[in-house]
């Protein structure tokens, strides 16, 4: 098996990714250049031409952040129920079914324990490809359990957000996940354990207005859309076009709302350094993890 096939079989996301033998081209939505998919993956899912950071599947991202073979996923058996029998043009139940059939994550987040440099971390990574990364009961529960594991085991928490906000098909229960996760972070803080929040494009709504903005340190990827209200809602409210760059990472940095804007290739190093600072431990220099190779497959095994 090639490394790509291995990843495909591990993550179950093979349906959409063609074999390496076939050249597959992807258009960068920023610069409109055609990029070979393999090149994109080799380059951390960043456009080699214009540096646009593509959205990533959670396991690809986890692979970039943790030490090889160190990640153990938890709670992947939690799946979305349909607590208010929600139906718009489609039934919520069917939307979930379709998302599950796509063969990626089992809900909009992947959580687990991993090692990053010298640090044991509870890592939660959103899956935007699963219903827009929206937060319902499963996402709230998995994050909360992750925080509770960190508290029990003296670990740091890292959450990589990439979400349009609350999952409205679960009604008020999705709103309450904001309270639940924020309250859990309070308990983590009382234990003086570090929490770093990483914001990827996009981070808005109920995710933004809860744990995403509660990090001891908040880091954003370049040019990510970050905000409480979506740009369209704001434009409708104020009846004018928003200026270029509004609600982008660099804008938030300028307005004092986040600590750093960090390029994806540097993310692992920064996280490791920051954790070492917060815990006052020696800083070991990490080599930047290779994007995806057979040697650097982080997923040890599926947890019980």
């Amino acid at each position: 098996m090639s490394w790509l096939e291995r990843i495909i079989s591990k993550t179950g996301m093979g349906k959409k990714i063609p074999k390496t033998t076939e050249a597959s081209w992807i258009e960068c939505k920023k610069c409109k250049e055609q990029i070979l998919e393999v090149d994109l993956i080799e380059n951390f899912h960043i456009c080699p031409k214009c540096d646009h950071h593509f959205r990533m599947k959670p396991l690809d991202r986890i692979r970039l952040l943790v030490n090889p073979d160190s990640f153990e996923e938890h709670d992947q058996n939690l799946t979305s129920a349909d607590p208010i029998k929600f139906k718009d043009k489609k039934k919520y139940k069917d939307r979930v079914k379709t998302a599950l059939k796509a063969g990626g994550s089992t809900d909009a987040i992947v959580c687990g324990t991993g090692k990053m440099g010298d640090h044991e971390v509870e890592l939660c990574v959103f899956d935007f490809f699963f219903l827009g990364g929206s937060m319902g009961s499963v996402v709230g529960e998995k994050i909360t359990r992750g925080i509770e594991r960190a508290i029990r085991n003296d670990r740091a928490v890292i959450i990589v957000s990439c979400s349009g906000g609350a999952r409205m098909q679960e009604g008020i229960l999705s709103l309450m996940q904001m309270a639940k996760t924020s309250a859990a972070l309070q308990l983590l803080a009382e234990k003086q354990l570090p929490y770093i929040s990483v914001l990827a494009d996009p981070t808005t709504g109920g995710v933004s207005a809860s744990f995403a903005f509660l990090g001891d340190i908040i880091i954003a990827e370049p040019k990510a859309l970050i905000g409480f209200a979506g740009p369209r809602v704001i434009e409708q409210t104020i009846r004018q076009k928003l200026p270029e760059g509004f609600q982008r990472s660099e804008f938030l940095l300028e307005h004092g709302l986040i600590d750093q804007v960090v390029h994806r290739k540097e993310l692992r190093n920064h996280l490791n350094n920051l954790l070492s600072h917060m815990k006052n431990t020696p800083i070991s220099k990490l080599t930047t993890a290779k994007p995806a190779t057979a040697e650097a497959d982080p997923v040890k095994s599926d947890a019980e």
């Binding site: 058996n77 979305s80 529960e141 309450m176 309270a179 903005f213 104020i238």
Partner: protein, 322 residues
């Protein structure tokens, strides 16, 4: 002229008939004794009000919750408490006027009361930004809550907002952080917190002062993750599908009680709180009194643990293995 909602029309018609009969019998002795007729109509009116208001769906409740004559936070404060000392400002450059708050006496007990304030007339509506708070409002609320904690004063929040303000300035000032930080801190405050949805419970802007040991809802208030309008336009692609959206969202007090998200439904005067502000306040005050009594018997650590556990347990999901 009072605003009359569609489903209130028949009620108002009967009320007018009663008024006319009264004035007729006052003006002309020749019409004879109309007492019997009036009594019959009054009975009919009671039944009508009960039937109509017991059967309201999500969208109709939304209209009642947004009724321009519905009592607002300051109405409840004036009718439930005495010696209100309003406090202003977030101490970081913002007045935060979409939220009002301050010390007040509830019977003999000082409480910190904080609530969204919509405006009654046009100028006031604009000044209050229709109850849609900027970050300064949430930060002011948090400052007042911490002040209450310092002096061991219980906190009562009154929720009535379409949502947090979606504007450029709000984003620049950190709307997300303001809401998030309130949730974070409220979860650990060592005094009783009672949150009451008195009108519109609009999403994160409502929850930002809603993390209570008890969460109560007035009978005809609504509480939702998104407005029916927003939901209709996102999921139906048609902002006119508000009725369907409101029904689908499960935003009424009865539905939320079933989901175990709220602890108590507080009754409103027959025909809705907008028909009788004082009576609505009396009913709420009675409910608050007994909840507060229960909570004040708890130790600070018990209050924090109870609040933590309450929100920890909210969520419905499947756990079966694949």
């Amino acid at each position: 002229m009072a605003q009359i909602l569609d489903f209130e029309k028949d009620i108002f018609a009967v009320e007018n008939q009663i008024k006319e009969l009264h004035s007729l019998s006052n003006m002309y002795d020749s019409v004879g004794d109309l007492t019997h007729e009036i009594t019959k109509l009054k009975k009919k009116l009671r039944h009508m009000k009960r039937d109509v208001f017991n059967g309201l769906d999500g969208w109709q409740k939304t209209q009642v919750a947004r009724h321009p004559e519905r009592p607002y936070t300051l109405d409840y404060i004036n009718n439930m408490f005495t010696d209100f000392e309003e406090l202003h400002g977030d101490r970081h450059g913002g007045a935060g006027v979409s939220i009002s708050g301050g010390f007040a006496k509830f019977d003999d007990q000082t409480v910190m009361v904080i609530g969204h304030q919509k405006g009654r007339d046009t100028a006031e509506k604009i000044r209050r930004n229709f109850g849609m708070s900027q970050p300064a409002g949430y930060r002011k609320a948090l400052r007042l809550m911490r002040l209450a904690e310092k002096f061991n004063i219980p906190i009562i929040t009154l929720i009535d907002t379409p949502g947090a303000y979606p504007g450029m300035d709000a984003e620049e000032q950190g709307q997300s952080e303001a809401i998030a930080y309130n949730l974070f801190v409220m979860s650990s405050l060592k005094v009783p917190i009672i949150a009451v949805i008195i009108g519109e419970g609009g999403s994160g802007g409502a929850l930002a002062i809603g993390l209570g040991n008890r969460v109560m809802m007035l009978e005809h208030s609504v509480y939702s993750v998104i407005s029916p309008e927003g939901c209709a336009s996102i999921l139906w692609g048609d902002k006119d599908k508000v009725k369907q959206a409101a029904r689908a969202l499960n935003m009424t007090s009865k539905q939320l009680e079933k989901l175990d998200v709220i602890d108590q439904i507080v009754g409103e005067p027959l025909g809705g709180a907008h028909r009788h502000h004082k009576w609505a306040a009396i009913m709420l005050k009675k409910a608050l009194r007994s909840q507060l009594k229960e909570l004040m018997a708890l130790k600070p650590s018990e209050l924090v643990a109870q609040r933590q556990e309450k929100f920890r347990n909210i969520g419905v999901f499947n756990t079966e293995k694949e």
